[in-house]
């Protein structure tokens, strides 16, 4: 059974800040994470952390044989948290730190007392290797241990960290929309070393796409190839070992696969779809990277613009940044069904895709300190500039549109098979 764990960065920061505090006699601190859940296919589960509850100073018991021992009251508090959740998918996990380098591993005490998979473990250096980002596969430590040599294909990017090839190989990335923007993104992710893809688009390549669809050929047009087939071919030509799930459908019909992804790129044409995809990502605590490009104006006075937004749970969303507005969605709805395609060009798509992949890589393999969880980069294709003023204006602010408790399956059904 696949089990994934996700938490917003702001929550992980709070956990770390608390667990690093000294206690008057315990060698380490412990706490509890209250979580919700979402279903994956094949009876898998995503655990979604929503709140952190530290163990009170007075609830530690002196015990020289372990780093920290909780008293009965701490356990009762945790049980009450689970009860107060009031939903069938509420769960509470015990959490503590392992102050060591590399991938997190379970200690002998963890394994003896709880068993692998029942306890979450947060390695302090997880931040350095994974940018504190919410990818946490249970059991990942056991699958990665022993991997000492970097993939020779990725030696030139070893500055991303000693485990970066393994982190990238384990990552599962969704890309919705595979034309000008998405095809660029997919190609770069394959080169970077991402090992698992869910690529989604319901369209076939047409002649008018050849000006920008990376990897698309004249023969593909003649053969009426699907855009997902082309994306899969591009990925496999770089990395034959990659696991690619091609979904030739609308992304709304691929949510079972997308729900599992660690990061999702949205390269969609409409504001309405971008809004829905971001909502989907927020619900499952998935960082969402949104790419949009447009050409405005009339003959002789055209301007190219675009933006890439990294929208992470808890941080500003597309609505906060003003990328989505009711007016834009209404205007778009008024255009529905009108003939003609929107102008798009490969070079601007390429700039935006490169920024998007940059944001992804720094998110999971940060090479310059702590990962940036939120970004809004606006591209002015006429002046060849990238501005970040929208983010600067929102510096440090939280999202006012999405509530922290609106996570997990809204219609969660308890299965008697879970955990079997």
């Amino acid at each position: 059974m696949t089990t994934l764990f996700r938490a917003p960065k702001c929550l992980i920061d709070a956990v770390r800040d608390d667990l690093y505090r000294r206690h008057r006699f315990a060698a380490e601190r412990v706490g509890f994470l209250a979580c919700r859940a979402a279903r994956l296919a094949n009876n898998g589960l995503i655990i979604l952390a929503t709140e952190y509850h530290p163990v009170a100073d007075d609830d530690y018991v002196e015990d020289p044989t372990v780093g920290a021992m909780m008293g009965a009251r701490a356990i009762r508090v945790a049980m009450q948290l689970a009860y107060n959740g009031g939903r069938e998918d509420t769960s509470v996990f015990h959490i503590h730190m392992h102050d060591r380098a590399g991938y997190p591993v379970f200690s002998q005490t963890d394994l003896t007392e709880s068993g692998l998979g029942r306890r979450l473990l947060l390695a302090s250096t997880w931040t350095q290797t994974c940018g504190n980002q919410p990818i946490f596969h249970s059991g990942c430590a056991t699958t990665i241990l022993g991997m000492e040599l970097m993939d020779p294909r990725l030696v030139s990017q070893s500055f991303l960290g000693p485990d970066s090839d393994a982190i990238l190989a384990q990552a599962e990335v969704g890309v919705a929309g595979l034309c000008g923007g998405g095809s660029h993104v997919v190609q770069q992710l394959a080169h970077v070393g991402v090992g698992n893809f869910v690529v989604v688009d319901d369209d076939i390549i047409e002649e008018k796409n050849l000006n920008r669809l990376v990897g698309g050929t004249r023969a593909d047009v003649d053969a009426k190839f699907s855009k997902v087939s082309i994306a899969e071919r591009v990925i496999r030509s770089v990395n034959p070992a990659a696991r690619v799930i091609p979904r030739s459908s609308r992304w709304q019909d691929a949510i079972e696969d997308l729900r599992r992804c660690d990061v999702i790129f949205g390269c969609l044409d409409s504001y309405r779809e971008r809004d829905e995809l971001e909502r989907f990502c927020r619900r499952y605590l998935i960082p969402y990277i949104d790419c949009g490009m447009d050409v405005h104006g009339t003959s002789g006075t055209f301007s190219i613009s675009g933006q890439v937004v990294l929208s992470s749970p808890g941080g500003p969303c597309l609505w906060c940044f003003g990328i989505l507005t009711k007016g834009r969605i209404a205007e778009e709805a008024g255009q529905y069904g009108k003939a003609g395609s929107r102008p798009q060009v490969v070079w601007s798509n390429g700039v935006l895709a490169s920024i998007a992949v940059d944001l992804f890589v720094q998110l999971i393999c940060p090479w310059h300190g702590r990962a940036q969880m939120t970004a809004c980069c606006e591209f002015d294709g006429n002046r060849h500039r990238i501005e970040t003023s929208r983010l600067d204006n929102l510096a440090g602010s939280r999202c006012s549109h999405f509530r922290p408790d609106e996570v997990g399956d809204a219609f969660f059904v308890t299965s008697t098979n879970v955990g079997a």
């Binding site: 979402a38 609308r250 992304w251 709304q252 019909d253 949510i255 729900r259 309405r272 829905e276 995809l277 909502r279 989907f280 927020r282 619900r283 499952y284 969303c317 609505w319 009711k326 969605i329 209404a330 778009e332 709805a333 008024g334 549109h401 999405f402 509530r403 609106e406 997990g408 399956d409 809204a410 219609f411």
Partner: protein, 108 residues
């Protein structure tokens, strides 16, 4: 427009009706709603938006299409679940029970 009284009223039609929210949007979830179309009866989970959604004054999402009814359907992902909905316009926000009845006319 989203009071306990409104909910109690719509629960007369669908016993399991509950409010749900997502990103500032409020909905009524209607599990196993009975949809009558002339001689046939269908059971669908449904989601009623209480305000404008996707440029419609309100919408009623269904878990599956109603065969032969509703015309052209669109798919939307809301509350982590994919729904379908016909192009049925001009049901303004109001009492949820009245909105539901107006939307169900699309299948009559």
């Amino acid at each position: 427009m989203s009071s306990p009284e409104d909910l109690a009223e719509i629960q007369q039609v669908c016993a399991g009706a509950i409010y749900k929210t997502e990103g500032g949007q409020k909905f009524v979830f209607l599990p196993a709603l009975i949809v009558r179309t002339g001689d046939n009866t269908f059971t669908r989970d449904a989601l009623l938006t209480l305000r404008a959604h996707s440029s419609y004054a309100s919408r009623l999402f269904l878990s599956e299409q109603i065969p032969g009814r509703g015309g052209t359907y669109q798919t939307h992902t809301v509350l982590g679940r994919t729904w379908c909905t016909p192009s049925w316009k001009n049901v303004p926000p109001g009492r949820p029970i009245e909105m539901l009845m107006q939307h169900l006319k699309a299948y009559a």
